[in-house]
């Protein structure tokens, strides 16, 4: 298995996808810094300012919202194996298909973790720098900010795992990316507008992500619009567990489904 994982690592690092991944991670972090510098209170609609706990949380939550990016990278990376026809050779070298799929999932989860911590580190630096420039102190203690950022980084790793699993399931690069991006950015938000489904929101991937990253602004905003009280989110560990659960189900299907599928 370690051979297969290191082979996946070679596959990953010898194409330029890792470079783009790095750029996206840096850009995600820098984006948060930019927002902090502009000041959330100047947004339309205005958000709580940086020196309130709420304001800092919103910015960190926005970083969590960018967790779909590494998911898309994971999806693209696996689906490209089918798109470019390397899956034939890969299956010849590791005929038990679950082995290389598992290796891929592990390798990319690692890559997702690196991505997450890179983005979080840049975001942390940018946040503190922005606060210093604006002459304010962040609305949350440093320890809380760092732990929230670590949670965002973990979210990104779990999302990458999800993305890889979906890429392996759908095999069509464009379709897989459309499903991942479309669901996370549009479908789930739409779902939460439906009153009955809203009760399930804490258990949906987005709700679980919000619980893990501590970003409740979206749920609160929806609640504000519909005039109903916000559905309470799960605790952060429970949210994390739900998210990992989704990833594991996707992984299980991804690993089991291709076993009998013909590679033609």
């Amino acid at each position: 298995m370690t051979t297969l994982i290191s082979a996946e690592w070679i596959r990953l690092t010898s194409s330029r996808i890792w470079l783009w991944g790095g750029v996206a991670a840096l850009a995600s972090g820098a984006f948060i810094g930019l927002l902090a510098l502009a000041g959330p209170e100047n947004f339309d609609p205005p958000l709580p300012p940086l020196d309130t706990a709420e304001g800092t949380r919103v910015l960190l939550g926005l970083l969590g919202f960018l967790a779909c990016l590494p998911a898309l990278f994971g999806t693209a990376a696996v689906a490209s194996e089918y798109r470019h026809g390397t899956v034939t050779t890969t299956s010849l070298f590791a005929p038990r298909r679950w082995t290389w799929l598992t290796a891929k999932l592990l390798a990319y989860t690692g890559a997702g973790l690196v991505y997450g911590f890179l983005a979080a580190a840049v975001a942390a630096a940018a946040l503190f720098a922005a606060a210093a420039i604006d002459g304010v102190t962040l609305g949350l203690p440093v320890g809380v900010v760092l732990s929230l950022l670590a949670r965002v980084a973990l979210t990104m790793a779990v999302y990458t795992l999800l993305g890889v699993a979906i890429g392996a399931l759908l095999r069509n690069q464009v379709a897989a990316m459309a499903v991942v991006g479309g669901y996370l950015y549009a479908v789930e938000t739409a779902l939460t507008m439906i009153p009955g489904v809203k009760a399930l929101y804490p258990l949906l991937p987005g709700g679980a992500t919000a619980a893990l990253t501590g970003f409740t602004y979206l749920a609160d905003a929806v609640a504000g619009q519909t005039g109903e009280p916000a559905v309470p989110l799960l605790s952060a560990p429970a949210g994390g567990a739900v998210l990992v659960g989704y990833a594991l189900v996707a992984v299980a299907i991804a690993v089991l489904a291709p076993l009998r599928r013909d590679i033609t």
Partner: protein, 290 residues
């Protein structure tokens, strides 16, 4: 030794392969022949565990491919569908699969050298020509130094120079005592390399055996002013083509000449007729002679 037993595969309503049974002996070069759509690719994919057979089995040295320990060190395969990541260089590709198969960097260097890949090892695969891609495919198949090689229409899309190179290369591999199964829809392509043939048509076995047995029976065209008299002297099936021309079966030209000489019969023409391999192949696979 590859044993194919009762292999069957249907894709929806299409019976791609039906009850196919044949052996590929060790140390032989076997041509796997059949017109387009005969089921060659499907059969080879089933041999390699890429396509699950509807029924039947394939074993290589007694085991299905999937259960071989270090399969790529036993069997190397060159398939038309195998591709490369466009952003990888040829060397990246080899390095990656060498790692998957746990082969050292010495193997990467070696296969790149014998296949000529080293000349373009640092180029990205998106810019490689068909010939270069086929060399890279071969190099990948050879990473594990396998004693069995399966090649599915390896000369498709190659220019005459590439085809000539491939032929020489396969002959060299065969001379090293490897077992080679190479498919083609034209006999001429493997005629010079193969010693055994397996011919299929519409997913079913037509014939399997030594290449020489593909030839139809020989006949001799005889022209003589005393054709009729000669015919009665020859104890062999004979067709009368005209008053002076006979087609004699089952006797060699030398045998006919000596009978004629013994009876003082003048001969004006004695021509051995032998259908070309291509004619025999087309006849077997239901094509028409051009």
């Amino acid at each position: 030794m590859i044993e194919v037993r009762g292999l069957t595969k249907t894709f929806g309503p299409v019976a791609a392969v039906t009850d196919l049974t044949f052996d590929v002996g060790p140390g032989t070069v076997t041509g796997f022949l059949g017109p387009n759509g005969a089921g060659k690719t499907t059969t080879m994919r089933m041999m390699l565990g890429l396509v699950a057979p509807g029924s039947g089995s394939v074993t290589i040295d007694g085991r299905p491919y999937r259960e071989l320990r270090d399969p790529t060190s036993v069997v190397g395969a060159v398939l038309d569908s195998s591709g490369f990541h466009p952003a990888h260089t040829a060397r990246d590709h080899l390095r990656l699969y060498a790692r998957m198969g746990r082969y050292g960097s010495d193997r990467v260097a070696r296969v790149a050298e014998v296949t000529g890949v080293s000349a373009f090892a640092h180029r990205r695969t998106r810019g490689l020509s068909t010939g270069m891609r086929q060399r890279l495919n071969l190099a990948t198949a050879l990473l594990g130094d396998p004693r069995v090689l399966l090649l599915d229409e390896p000369s498709n899309g190659l220019d005459p120079e590439g085809i000539a190179w491939l032929r020489r290369f396969l002959r060299d591999l065969a001379a090293q005592g490897r077992t080679i199964l190479v498919s083609s829809h034209v006999l001429g392509e493997i005629e010079q390399t193969a010693d055994q043939v397996v011919v299929i048509r519409e997913g079913r076995l037509v014939t399997a055996g030594p290449l020489s047995e593909l030839y139809g029976s020989a006949s001799v065209l005889v022209r003589s002013p005393q054709a009729d008299r000669l015919r009665t002297m020859l104890a062999a099936p004979t067709e009368i083509l005209s008053s002076e021309v006979l087609r004699v079966h089952d006797l060699s030209a030398a045998e006919i000449a000596s009978v004629a000489a013994a009876h003082g019969i003048p001969l004006q023409e004695l021509t051995s007729e032998r259908p070309t391999l291509e004619q025999a192949f087309l006849h077997l696979t239901g094509g028409t002679t051009p």
